[in-house]
Amino acid sequence: MTALLTIIIVIFVAVAIWQMVKIFDLAQVGTTNTQVADDQDNKINGYLMMGFLVFIYVITILCFWYIGDLPLMSNAASEHGSEVDNLMIISMVVIFVVQTITQFLLHYFAFKYKGEKGKKAFFYADNNTLEFIWTIIPVIVLAGLIIYGLFTWNDIMNIDEDEDPMVIELYAQQFSWKARYSGGDNVLGKANVRLIDIDRANVLGVDEEDPNAQDDVIVSELHLPVGQQVVFKMRSQDVLHSAYMPHFRAQMNCVPGMVTQFAFTPTVTTADMRQNPDIVEKVKNINDLRKERKAEIEESGQELLYEFDYLLLCNKICGKSHYNMQMKIIVETQEEFDAWMKEQTTFPNSLN
């Protein structure tokens, strides 16, 4: 039945196009129809080019208006985040200016110089000065961006051991996250997937003999003390995953067979971020939308109302349930963190 319907629709579309061609042809009776653009075509399409320029500007404005408040591009929750956001804004301004000007020139020229019979184009093959100018300007602008970018990148990637960062392992598997705190000694116990023992609940393959492992703590909700630099050591047990923490401007792949790392200092607690006017507005907006879809959301078993939380998402295709591989991150004061940590079971005690 569906096939039949599809065939009928295809036939109708073909007939419609055929009719359209007929109408076009009839409208051009009297002129010789060579299928080569004539003055009339040049004129119409020239005007349409200006129309298209307006369309590009309008869609830009609409996007900024409706989806341009980008809470993941402002209100960074990490120390290096504001630096990244600055660089982002500078780059965006450069892009915006260049885009506006070049699109204008392109479409305006297409309109202005639309062809007319009898007109002759200006034979203009070369101009070294002009070409030098538009080689050197991008060079200067890009040099600035490269230098700024490289400083920022080095700042992010070079981990300053003097600051005594807290060591946490992020452990990825299809399709969930775990975190392992290194405990009082701030050193992670050795681990390898070959040591995984599901029966004993040693799911991360931590070496039970290693003295450094005795105070390790394994959890499935990430808590971070505010203002304390954290270095994440990342592992994966099966396929590539990517630990994406957009609010902290942090991301690093988790690669089976090796340990990768990324460090940052969270600067805003979850509680404070929830009070942030931008976030309050965003959450309200989301909840208004969710209320409209009440029945559907309750059916799926989710809480109806959304409350802001930092998230760790998987951002590297990792299989069937890739779209639902996440872990909540809670940034809290040192006292809250210590209290929470006290309640957790250490690794040796978590074994069966």
Binding site: A37, M49, S91, F122, E131, V255, L311, Q326
Partner: protein, 597 residues
């Protein structure tokens, strides 16, 4: 055969008229023009499949987990009750990417126009080796068939993304598509690479050896420069992907550990030890990045040629255009690491790749400015090919500019693998290359089929496509900057992204309309082949040699001697001439200077 090879046959050389059967003329043809058409039709059909897939997964993103008649009809058991399965979503994304990048925009674009234009524009009777050319097409055809077959295997086609990163692609227990589906994917790609290499070698040899008298390298049309350099990039980088594919096959089937190490999956530890998935990423992107230039350079060449011809002006800065093609080609082989900033490789390498990557913006900017200046004070003939060329520059700028963000390692951290990336590369290489291809088809259709495409349908096709392309990909920048990861089957598990749902619906609606608009083109393409207006010899009044051949295709291209060349290919509106174009085979007038650009 001998007549075809003897491309230097001057003056009184007679071209044999073979007795041709249907099979030698239409199927196992060694004539470059027929092979070009074969590439084009095959590429078009693959394109239809690729676009249909994208419409299906866009529908899933806009209306997640809702029953859909289209899914029920096309996906069968993979869409029980019309609801798309999560594995199939990933498979669609994977095969869409593979088909569009390799089968449509590499083989369909380069294969069609390199084959058609290289002999015609340099003044050769055929490719250096007609036989290799035929083998190249048929290898491509076989790889298409295998890729299509992989859609029908029991556990589904490859579903690890078009980049097929191991271990996901190596372990059948990690993803259903990594079984038979991935084996077929790898076999298909290996054959595809062989096809591409044969083609590229042929193009290089032909351009170097078979140019007609007077056709020096600095008189070549920019199309030929682009095809030539593209072929060189292909020869340099495709073998690396072949090696990656072969090593992956060894890991999958023979237990080696090139890319795998320390894996625990489904309750057991696998034996692999010592390999690294990052190595695969290096090998993959060593092709993968030049690949985007393999896709875009031919489009740039076509657009340059069409813009000059339709503006009735020389291309501005001919030598700068060649220099920037060469610069792009060189830089393209040393920037692959910008796909891997957060792969776990040494951060110092990240710095190096940021530097080289942002450098590539310079030749790209030069090209864009030169195109715009070519329009300035022209006499623009707004044929559909010209509209697509202008559209190309527009999307190339819009898409290219965001490369400044993605190429900057510090910024890439936060937008890597989000919709921002999708917006960027679809505009800068997907849509742009597609526009280049459409421009080429509208422009050279009379050369290929001896008939004209209907221009009004062409206008309709362009304007709907142009609006929809921006409608689809422009908002994606914004949802990407809001942090939405790509390749998510549904976003409904993240209330954080709920406010982006409406935007996703709008994007999908644009995608559906844009997809449907291609029916206009398909209709135009196939119907005009038989019922189109008969073409005259040089409908666009162009200067290049292909328009000096007769409308009817003949073996050996020119009935008599091959024309000699006396000038570059951009003598449009040259002062001192009555007509606004002087073909390359017209000798210089007395006292006329060959203005050397």
């Amino acid at each position: 055969m001998s007549a075809i090879l003897d491309t230097h046959g001057h003056d009184d050389h007679d071209v044999h008229h073979h007795k041709e059967t249907f099979v030698t003329k239409y199927i196992f043809s060694q004539d470059h023009k027929m092979i070009a058409k074969q590439y084009l039709v095959t590429g078009t059909l693959m394109g239809v499949i690729g676009v249909l897939m994208s419409i299906m997964f866009r529908m899933q993103i806009a209306w997640p987990e809702e029953p859909n008649v289209l899914f029920e009809a096309l996906l069968g058991k993979w869409a029980p009750d019309g609801v798309m399965d999560a594995d199939v979503y990933l498979a669609l994304v994977t095969i869409h990417g593979t088909i569009m990048v390799f089968f449509v925009l590499t083989a369909g674009l380069s294969g069609t126009f390199s084959n058609l234009l290289i002999p015609l524009q340099i003044g050769a009777r055929d490719m250096a080796s007609g036989f290799l050319n035929m083998v190249s097409y048929w290898l491509f055809f076989i790889s298409c068939v295998i890729m299509i077959c992989s859609l029908f295997v029991e556990a589904g086609p490859a579903a690890a993304g078009w980049t097929i990163y191991p271990p996901l692609s190596a372990l059948p227990m990690a993803s259903g598509g990594s079984g038979m589906g991935m084996t077929l994917w790898l076999v298909s790609m290996a054959i595809f690479i062989a096809s591409s290499l044969l083609g590229s070698l042929n193009y290089i040899v032909t351009v170097i050896n078979l140019r007609t008298k007077g056709m020096s390298m600095t008189r070549l049309p920019l199309t030929i420069w682009a095809f030539f350099v593209t072929a060189v990039i292909g020869v340099v980088s495709f073998p690396v992907l072949l090696s990656a594919a072969l090593l992956l096959i060894m890991d999958r089937s023979f237990g080696t550990s090139f890319f795998l190490s320390d894996i625990f999956i489904q309750g057991e530890v696998l034996h692999y030890q010592g390999g690294s998935p990052v190595l695969f990423e290096h090998l993959f992107w060593f092709l993968g990045h030049p690949e985007v230039y393999i896709v875009i350079l031919p489009a740039m060449g076509l657009v340059s040629e069409i813009m000059a011809s339709s503006s009735r002006k020389p291309i501005f800065g001919y030598r700068a255009m060649i220099a920037s093609i060469l610069a792009i080609a060189f830089l393209s082989t040393i920037v692959w690491g910008h796909h891997m900033f957060i792969s776990g490789m040494n951060p110092f390498l990240g710095s190096v790749f940021t530097f080289t990557t942002l450098l590539i913006a310079i030749p790209s900017a030069v090209k864009a400015f030169n195109w715009i200046t070519t329009l300035w004070k022209g006499n623009l003939q707004m044929n559909p090919a010209m509209l697509f060329s202008i559209g190309f520059v527009s999307t190339f700028i819009t898409g290219g500019l965001t490369g400044i963000i993605l190429g900057d390692s510090a910024l890439d951290i936060n937008v890597h693998d989000t919709y921002f990336v999708i917006a960027h590369f679809h505009l800068v290489m997907g849509i742009s290359a597609l526009y280049g291809m459409f421009a080429g088809i509208y422009h050279w259709y009379p050369k290929m089929f001896g008939r004209m495409l209907n221009k009004n349908l062409g206008y309709l096709h362009f304007w709907i496509t142009a609006v929809c392309a921006y409608g689809v990909f422009f908002p994606m920048h914004f949802i990407g900057m809001a942090g939405l990861p790509r390749r998510y089957y549904t976003n409904s598990n993240f209330p954080l992204f709920d406010d982006l749902a409406n935007t996703n619906v709008i994007i999908t609606i644009f995608a559906i309309i844009g997809g449907l608009a291609q029916i206009i083109y398909l209709y135009n393409f196939f119907v005009s082949m038989f019922y189109g207006k008969k073409a005259v010899q040089n409908p666009w009044r162009s200067t290049t040699l292909e328009w000096t051949t007769p409308v009817e295709h003949i073996h050996g291209n020119w009935p008599g001697a091959i024309p000699h060349v006396y000038r570059w290919s951009y003598d449009y509106s040259k002062p001192g001439h009555d007509v606004d174009f002087v073909p390359q085979n017209v000798p210089l007038m007395e006292g006329e200077e060959e203005l050397q650009h």
